[in-house]
């Protein structure tokens, strides 16, 4: 006898996946196709005049040295956001897992930043670090460090990385904490009886067992850094100084929404889509092999 559950009806399985398929089609496939089509057009803002120009938008993009430079900025930014975001959240989750008194308060406070909108998060950090008015700026100045992200590219990048990480840390923290709590206590206790210290117990037991969570969060964080961070850049640095914080998705937003160049913006979003799709494929093919479920 077959052990798997098999649908006897022909249409039932399709009916069951239909809602999900519909959502995917309407909210993912359709806009993506629209973007693909739009990227081949040059259109005025009001849509009165439309020309089909094949790949002219892409040619314009790739002959623009400043566009190519923003790939590098995006790569550095994404690696930093995902790397620091995961490491910091994991550390906090490990500590939170061990806290006995006031654990609820501690966890609640850590989850709080997730409720803050990106633009607001950026404004909060700008308040702290503004070269004229920032409180932290005054502290740094009094310690002899000249903080001015308006002209210092590295500091500007640091500002948006800090904001993006801070904003995403709660999400990562929640998943890591849940992952840590689902690790059987008996394993940890057995290791403790065998004389393994906390650090060793973490690296040989908890960390490998967390690998599915870590992998999932890696994918989510990369996508977050690529797509979801334009509001932070917009509110904090507008891509400057020069082009130090002009990440790809910010340029898509700036050219499309603020500057109304829909064709050029669509072409950029197609490029961005291609990058994220290939990154995700790479992650699933190569990184996932090292995950132990």
């Amino acid at each position: 006898m077959e052990k798997r559950v098999v649908f006897r009806s022909r249409w039932l399985p399709y009916a069951l996946v239909a809602p999900q398929l519909l959502v995917t089609l309407v909210f993912f496939v359709w806009p993506a196709v629209q973007a693909l089509y739009q990227s081949l057009l040059i259109q005025d803002a009001f849509g009165a005049k439309t020309q089909f120009v094949w790949f002219d938008n892409f040619k314009d993009l790739f002959s623009d040295s400043h566009y190519l430079a923003s790939f590098q900025v995006t790569a550095v930014f994404s690696v930093l956001v995902a790397g620091i975001g995961l490491a910091a959240a994991l550390m906090l989750a490990v500590f939170a897992d061990r806290v006995i008194r006031g654990a609820k308060l501690y966890k609640t406070l850590l989850i709080l930043p997730y409720a803050v909108a990106s633009a607001v998060a950026a404004v909060l950090w700008v308040f702290l670090l503004n070269p004229t008015l920032g409180i932290l700026t005054h502290v740094m100045r009094s310690l002899g460090y000249d903080w001015n992200y308006l002209l210092n590219p590295r500091q500007a990048l640091a500002l948006i990385v800090i904001t993006a990480v801070w904003k995403q840390i709660s999400y990562n923290f929640l998943f890591f904490l849940a992952g840590l709590q689902s690790i059987p206590k008996s394993l940890i206790e057995a290791a403790a009886i065998d004389g393994a210290g906390p650090a060793r117990r973490f690296w040989t037991i908890a960390f490998p067992l967390l690998s599915p969570t870590t992998f999932f969060l890696l994918v989510v964080n990369i996508v977050y850094a690529f797509f979801d961070t334009f509001a932070i850049v917009d509110a904090a640095t507008s891509g400057g100084p020069v082009q130090a914080t002009s990440i790809l998705v910010f340029k898509v937003y700036q050219d499309g929404v603020q500057a109304l160049d829909l064709g050029g913006s669509a072409a950029q979003s197609v490029v961005l889509m291609a990058i994220v799709i290939s990154l995700t494929v790479v992650q699933f093919r190569f990184v996932e092999r090292r995950v132990q479920y």
Binding site: D44, T132, L150, L151, Q254
Partner: protein, 440 residues
């Protein structure tokens, strides 16, 4: 008995309400999408309320739709969806985009002529109306809030440096000397500027009567190309770069952020919008004054006149022609001297009609508020030339971003002034080519 009376009152008030509802339906609503916040937004509502109270056929409904770029995007989306607002406030940067959208807009001069409303473009200040007119001098949108660039100085800081605040720097070399003294007296920041592209390049070019772009700064057609890498502009940007190195000029951001550095007392001088007057008045805890924008005395024709910034009201094309009449009436109301002078005096924007300017003079407003007439004096300094009418550039939002980026590379010492301006012109021209392609 008491019950019966109560019932009667109920019915009567219900009838009254129903009557009001039908009256309200007969009123044509005119949506006015704007980007004014705080006290300015209150003023916009006040103007609409006054108009609504003055007649019963039309009701102007002001709606705040976010910042300038956001409300413009929203209006374009609404137009594409077939349901545009009637009046849209558009910043000067969006002028070329709106002008090119012939099917989507109703030029104001046409509207006023068709609806037989009195409308004389000469009633408006030349520097204001020329910015928004086509090549044959027809006004395409209704001037509303306009400002220009002025120099603000901190009197207390000047005195501390042994300078006479009653004698503010007239030229850029004067400003450099004063900045040196201010710095020597311990000022953390001698000079900064808001809106660097607008003040130090766009209006700077007009003020010195040199072109910013070809074809009369773009008024002559879509084939315009940028020309702001000429010797006068390069010299000025180079000076600013040198002053940045010496600590005389401190960069504080691309848009309005530098203002806080002046009102907090950190920076002793700032060149920025005349519309910042009210803000400084409310926040500065020191004596300060407004001065004329500096210039280079050895440049021929300088000072010419400055150009404006701010926004105008565009009329979107309507399916229902009845709307036009209401809009035209509202515009007549809006440009009346009483409304204009109140708007000017309470907001710090320049009076856009000559009648309003005269009325403000008559009321003694400029004696009571010294410095508030400097902006208008700069704008009317000389009759506008091809270089000083204004700018009409497509993809101007991107061009300003490019200019901001390139200027930052000068302030941080990565590029020379010449390299940065050449690069800005080259990159900006790519944007103009794209705009030309999309609109021809």
């Amino acid at each position: 008995m008491a019950n019966r009376i109560r019932r009667f009152i109920c019915i009567a008030s219900a009838l009254a309400l129903a009557g009001m509802a039908t009256a309200a339906q007969a009123v044509t609503e005119i949506q006015w999408w704007h980007s004014m916040t705080g006290a300015l937004s209150d003023k916009v509502n006040e103007i609409a309320n006054k108009f609504n109270a003055s007649q019963s056929e039309y009701k102007v409904v002001p709606v705040y739709k976010g910042q300038y770029d956001e409300s413009m995007t929203a209006a374009i989306a609404a137009y594409r969806g077939g349901n545009p607002p009637q009046i849209l406030q558009v910043f000067e940067v969006g002028t070329a985009t709106m002008m090119a959208a012939k099917g989507a807009i109703k030029p104001v001069y046409q509207l006023m002529a068709e609806e037989h409303q009195p409308f004389d473009p000469k009633a408006f200040l030349g520097a204001v109306s020329s910015y928004f007119s086509d090549t044959s001098g027809h006004l395409l949108s209704m001037p509303f809030n306009s400002s220009t660039q002025v120099l603000y100085i901190n009197d207390d800081a000047f005195k501390k440096a042994g300078l006479d605040p009653a004698n503010p720097p007239k030229t850029w070399p004067d400003l450099e000397k004063d900045a040196e003294k201010l710095k020597a007296s311990g000022a953390a920041c001698a000079f900064t500027t808001g809106w660097q592209s607008w003040v130090q390049l766009e209006s700077f070019s007009a003020w010195h009567n040199v072109p910013f772009a070809s074809l009369q700064n773009g008024f002559g057609g879509l084939g315009t190309r940028l020309e702001f890498n000429g010797p006068v502009q390069v010299r000025h940007i180079k000076n600013l770069g040198d002053w940045a190195k010496k600590g005389l000029f401190t960069y504080k951001g691309r848009k309005d952020e530098p203002l806080a550095a002046f009102t907090s007392g950190e920076c002793a001088m700032i060149t920025t919008s005349s519309g910042s007057y009210a803000n400084i008045k409310a926040n500065a805890k020191f004596a300060w004054r407004v001065a004329t924008l500096p210039y280079y005395a050895d440049v021929k024709g300088a000072p010419q006149n400055t150009i404006i910034g701010g926004a105008t009201l565009w009329v979107m094309k309507q399916k229902n022609p009845d709307m036009y009449k209401g809009i035209a009436k509202f515009f007549t109301f809006l440009s009346s001297p009483e409304i204009q002078v109140d708007w000017h005096e309470s907001t710090g924007y320049v009076p856009i009609t000559l009648a309003a300017y005269d009325l403000a003079k008559k009321q003694g407003f400029y004696q009571k508020n010294p410095g508030t007439d400097i902006a208008i004096k700069e704008l009317t300094n000389k009759p506008p030339t091809a270089n000083s009418r204004g700018l009409r550039l497509g993809n101007f939002v991107q061009i300003r971003n490019i200019i901001d980026e390139e200027l930052e590379s000068v302030w941080s010492g990565q590029k020379t002034a010449k390299q940065a301006l050449d690069s800005a012109v080259k990159r900006g021209n790519e944007q103009l080519v794209r705009f030309q392609k999309a609109n021809e």
